[in-house]
């Protein structure tokens, strides 16, 4: 089976859905690139090249380059979705949600509910998350917990190319607004991805590795750091079960609870800040529904409650590391023993 990067997997998902369904359109800043000039018309394909080639195949009616105006992109996309298209809108950096959140939070997320179920809003918002490129505090955040907290939005946080393709196709076919969070340091990460179209259902976690000693839950890039940590611990004789929820809304609570019922020990790894976060949400879920199974306190390995630092040394300290994850797992494993 061919190896593909997350970038290729996303591009393939978009192209296949646009071929299958003429109502699928792409809209955003530089999704073609160069639209306002006489020069090359498909110069960029998005700042990270995810939409490269779509303009050439589907033309300007379906690959819509916009001015730098997130509120207009999201407003146009929400309106298009509620009137019959399936837009995939690009919010270049998730940090920019601040300028267009009314269109997402008050409009798109509420349409189905406020129109008594008579309207649907099949909108996908692709957006970049993550620290690690010294892009400073306004271009490095991971605010998926904020999207997750909004009823009416679905939130997808893939960690590999196989999942990225299947989840993006699922997102496009879904009749509700979906925020699709892509980590900016993972676009070149490769894995086996089938050429044919396929879907992965929302709310179905992936069990990355089996183990009976400690449950470890991680999202996005942290899945790979957690995997490194659990590899190290396996050599020390600690077998971790590593769970990647893949979607934070809906969340696969059953897989998490079943695992903790078995291991009695939980570490949650989250690149986002800790207050009101996914890590905190999962810790509360387990405290609420699996308290009797717990043999140790739940440990959260997260960023600190600060903006993302620009300075590379500080940024490195800010992001949870495999070493910090391993230390938390050792602590939880050794507790009470």
């Amino acid at each position: 089976m061919p190896q593909k990067s997350i970038r290729q997997a996303l591009n393939e998902a978009l192209a296949q859905e646009m071929r299958r369904d003429p109502t699928v359109v792409v809209i955003g800043e530089d999704v073609a690139g160069g639209a306002a000039t006489d020069g090359q018309r498909d110069a960029y394909g998005g700042v990270l090249g995810v939409t490269k080639g779509l303009f050439a195949e589907f033309g300007e009616a379906r690959v819509i380059d916009t001015p730098i105006t997130e509120s207009a992109i999201m407003g146009a996309a929400a309106g298009a979705a509620v009137t019959g298209l399936r837009p995939v809108a690009e919010l270049m950096f998730s940090d920019f949600f601040g300028v267009c959140f009314d269109q997402i939070f008050n409009q798109a997320a509420k349409f189905r509910y406020m129109f008594g179920g008579k309207a649907k809003t099949p909108l996908v918002i692709r957006t970049m998350i993550g620290a690690g490129r010294s892009a400073a505090a306004q271009h490095s955040q991971s605010p998926y917990h904020i999207f997750t907290s909004v009823p009416g939005l679905k939130c997808v946080v893939p960690s590999n190319a196989y999942d990225a393709k299947g989840l993006l196709i699922q997102a496009i076919r879904d009749d509700d607004p979906v925020i699709f969070c892509e980590h900016k340091l993972m676009y070149d990460l490769r894995t086996e991805v089938p050429d044919e179209p396929y879907t992965i259902p929302f709310g179905e976690a992936n069990i990355v590795r089996d183990g009976d000693d400690v449950t470890v839950i991680a999202l996005s890039r942290m899945v790979h750091y957690a995997n490194e940590a659990t590899d190290t611990l396996a050599k020390e004789g600690i077998e971790c079960e590593l769970i990647d929820p893949r979607t934070t809304s809906p969340l696969d609570e059953d897989t998490i609870l079943e695992s903790v019922e078995r291991t009695g020990r939980l570490v949650v790894v989250d690149e986002a800040t800790p207050r009101c976060s996914i890590a905190t949400d999962i810790a509360a879920l387990v405290a609420d529904k699996a308290f009797a199974a717990l043999k140790a306190p739940v440990r959260r390995v997260t960023a600190p409650h600060t903006p993302v630092p620009f300075a590379p040394v500080l940024e490195k300290l800010y992001i949870p590391s495999p070493e910090r994850i391993a230390a938390a797992i050792r602590e939880v494993h050794g507790y009470g023993g």
Binding site: P194, E196, P197, Y198, T199, P201, E204, I207, D210, T255
Partner: protein
């Protein structure tokens, strides 16, 4: 005994296996064993399988303890006669070199990649192993499965002959368009594949729905078929576990898939997470659920098998054998009864609907003996 000191290594079963986990040893260090005896259990990408001794000897040293996961080719144990001194065993363990994974993978990549053929405008995937002058074998999987169901069977049958495993339309890596999806259309596809592969004489081995298809090929084209092995076959009576069929078609999530796959084997613990994941990945492809629903309706609509070939199989001139698991929960073992007086029938204990995986060694021997001349 093949050599004074020899190794038991991690076997490679099927395309995707790169490593295996030692589940447990069935012989203890220092115990003697004879050829064919069960030595240890290994968890594979599909189900747990038993390693059988290919020669007799004494299990002098267990190197890989239960629970360890090792790459294919890694040393698991050392076998030697009782009189071989301990120092020689030590030296053997110390000097054992695992073939480098990269060169091994390269070597394997040359011969064992699945390929595709076009049959009546439809792409069918197949895997061909082995060569030689003996009559080739064609393996036909059952409903919802693919050619990997033969991971323990195909490499053994490929000694001295071509052994081809096919993905039926709608299954595995074949096109997901299945036409009518009924017995006739799937039999056409298998016949077309045999023609495209230039097979002029063949031993047919079919499992479950693939058994009925193999039997239909034999009925249509008796001159081509040297023998017919039907494993837990469809087409021998009306009963079938309808809730398995419905559940398999419907299952989209891990939990329901685990439950449904558990019905296939006598011990659900045998089903590995990778086997579940492989089924989920297959079922997520566009068109698969529709294809399976169509096939299920044509073959097993209303929870009953629409095809009963018992009398026609009884009248076949070529050798036919039936192999069944005593604890089959999909197609009852009672379906062997009508033919038991006329054909060899092998009913295996501690096996469910997948005897070729659950009791791989026994089933391989039964097929090898049956097709040997």
């Amino acid at each position: 005994m093949s050599a004074a000191v020899s190794a038991i290594t991690m076997p490679k079963w099927g395309l995707t296996m790169t490593e295996g986990t030692v589940v447990g040893w069935l012989r203890q260090q220092g115990q003697r064993f004879a050829e064919g005896e069960e030595i240890l259990e290994i968890e594979t990408p599909k189900i747990t399988n038993v390693v059988e001794a290919t020669y007799g000897g004494t299990l002098r040293r267990i190197v890989a303890q239960a629970g360890t996961t090792l790459p294919v080719g890694a040393l698991l144990a050392v076998v030697a006669a009782d009189e071989v001194p301990e120092a020689e065993i030590d030296a053997f363990v110390a000097g054992f070199a695992v073939v480098e994974p990269s060169s091994r993978e390269e070597a394997e990549a040359k011969g064992v990649e699945p390929r595709s053929i076009e049959v009546a405008g439809r792409r069918l995937r197949y895997l061909e192993l082995g060569e030689g002058v003996d009559v080739p074998v064609l393996l036909v999987h059952g409903f919802g499965a693919d050619l990997n169901t033969w991971m323990f069977t195909q490499p053994v049958l490929a000694a001295g002959r071509r052994a081809v495993a096919l993905d039926l339309p709608g299954h595995g890596g074949s096109a997901k368009e299945v036409g009518a999806g009924d017995a006739e259309s799937l039999t056409d596809a298998v016949e077309g594949a045999l023609t495209a592969l230039g097979v002029e004489q063949v031993h047919l081995v079919g499992h479950s729905m693939g058994g009925a298809i193999a039997a239909l090929v034999a009925l249509r084209w008796p001159g081509l078929v040297s023998s017919l092995t039907l494993i837990a076959s469809a087409g021998l009576g009306p009963e079938i576990n309808g809730s398995f069929i419905d559940g398999f078609v419907r299952a989209a999530r891990r939990r329901e898939t685990v439950e449904v796959l558990g019905l296939l084997v006598h011990d659900p613990a045998l089903v590995s997470r990778t086997m579940v994941e492989d089924v989920l990945r297959y079922k997520r492809f566009d068109g698969v659920t529709a294809a399976l629903a169509k096939i299920a309706e044509a073959w097993f609509g209303g929870g009953r098998q629409s095809l009963d070939l018992t009398d026609r199989i009884a009248a076949l001139a070529m050798p036919v054998q039936l192999i069944w698991g005593r604890e089959d929960r999909i197609i009852p073992v009672a379906h062997t009864e009508a033919l038991a007086a006329r054909l060899p029938v092998h009913i295996l204990d501690a096996a469910g609907h997948l005897p070729h995986m659950e009791k791989a060694g026994e089933v391989n021997r039964l097929i090898e003996q049956f097709i040997a001349h």
